[in-house]
Subunit: 209 residues, 2 copies
C-alpha cells in the first residue's frame, strides 16, 4: 500500500501547518497537499490512512475531489473540514460515503479521535481489499470452462448433474473441479463458498463513532 498516512488537503498554509502540527504531536504521521489537483494526481486505489479535506478551495473543491476519488475506486476515508458548512452538503457527503464532516473551528481532541477512528477503519478496509484482490487474482486464473463448473459447484450440484448440464463426462468435471480447488487454493467446496462469500459483501458501510 502506498502512503499509509493522514493526508491533509487545504489551500491555506496556516491550516495545513496547524493540522500537521496537531497530528505530529499525537504521533500521527501526515502529509500535506496544497490543492485538490495535487492530491488527485497522487491518489490511487491503494492509498491507505485517511484524508482531511477542506471543502472550499480555489480550483477543485473538496467535494469535487471526493467525487473524483470515488470514481477512481479510491476508498480512502474522508473527513471534511469546513468553515461554512450547510446541512444539505454534509448530508450528501455522508450519504456518499464520507467518513465525517467537521465544522471549523474544530476541537483538537475530537478531531484527532476522528482521525484515529478513520485510520483504524481504513486499516480493516485495506486488509479486506487485499484479500478481495487476492481472490480476484485467483479467479482470473480460471478458464471459462472452470468458471462454468464452479458456478454449479457453488449451486450445490453433484458432479453427475454438472456433467449432464454441460454435456461432458463426469471425469472431466472431476478434473475441472480439482483444477478449480488448486487455483483457488482451497481444499473443499465449503472453503470455496466461504472465500467467495466476502466478494458479495456491501463495500459501503461505516461504523458509528
Amino acid at each position: 500500500m502506498k502512503g499509509a498516512a493522514t493526508h491533509i488537503v487545504d489551500d491555506d498554509p496556516a491550516v495545513r501547518d496547524a493540522l500537521q502540527w496537531l497530528l505530529r504531536s499525537r504521533d500521527v504521521p501526515s502529509q500535506t497537499w496544497d490543492s485538490a489537483e495535487r492530491f488527485l494526481a497522487f491518489a490511487s486505489r491503494d492509498v491507505c490512512g485517511c484524508l482531511l479535506l477542506d471543502v472550499r478551495m480555489p480550483g477543485m473543491s473538496g467535494i469535487e475531489l471526493f467525487d473524483r476519488l470515488r470514481a477512481l475506486q479510491c476508498r480512502l476515508p474522508v473527513i471534511f473540514l469546513t468553515g461554512h458548512g450547510d446541512v444539505p452538503m454534509a448530508v450528501q457527503a455522508l450519504k456518499d460515503g464520507a467518513f465525517d464532516f467537521i465544522e471549523k473551528p474544530y476541537d483538537d481532541n475530537l478531531l484527532v479521535d476522528k482521525v484515529l477512528a478513520a485510520i483504524e477503519h481504513d486499516a480493516k478496509r485495506c486488509a479486506r481489499d487485499g484479500a478481495i484482490q487476492l481472490l480476484q487474482q485467483r479467479l482470473a486464473l480460471l478458464t471459462q470452462r472452470e468458471h462454468e463448473v464452479m458456478q454449479r459447484i457453488l449451486a450445490g450440484k453433484l458432479n453427475k448433474v454438472i456433467a449432464d448440464e454441460l454435456d461432458i463426462a463426469m471425469r472431466t468435471v472431476e478434473v475441472h473441479r480439482s483444477h478449480i480447488f488448486e487455483k483457488m487454493q482451497v481444499r473443499s467446496a465449503v472453503e470455496l463458498s466461504q472465500a467467495l462469500g466476502m466478494l458479495g459483501d456491501a463495500p459501503n458501510s461505516r461504523s458509528g463513532s
Copy 2:
C-alpha cells in the same frame, strides 16, 4: 410485518396534515403520531416502511426517539425533518444510521423521492431480516452437540477429523450431520455455508441517493 407505511411523527398538526396530504397525493400510505412517546409505544422490531421524524418536539425529541428505537432493535429508516438543524447534529444522526436529514422548508418532490427511496430500502431490509430470523429460528433447533459438529463442518473438516476431535465415532458424526442438514433445511455443506454467510454481513449500510 406490522405497519408497512410511512410514519409521520410531529407535534405540529399543520405539519402532520401537510405531510400526510403530500404523501397521499402520491399514493404513499401514511400514519401520523403527535408525539415521540406515542410512536415509541407502537414501534417494534418488525415495523416496515419509513419514519418521517421532526427533531424538535416537546417532551421526547426526535433524536432521542431515534436512539430509543435503535436500542429496541427497530431498524426502520428514519428521515429527520428540522427547521433549525445544525451540521453536527445531522452528521451524528447519519453516522448513527439515519436515512436522511432534511431541513425545512423542504421541497415536496425531493421529500417524496427520499421517502420512496427509504421505503424501497426498507423493503429489502425487511426481506433480509426475515431470512435472518428464519435462519436463527432454525439454528435454535440445533442441540449443543450439533452446533459443535456444524462449526467443524463449516471449517471444512472431514467427518473422520471431526470424530477424532470430539472423540466420538464417525457414525455419530454422520448422524449429527444429517440432523443438522435436516433442521437447517439444506442439502449440502455448501448450502449451509452460504445460508450462514448472510448472518455475518454488515447490517449497517445505506445506498447513496
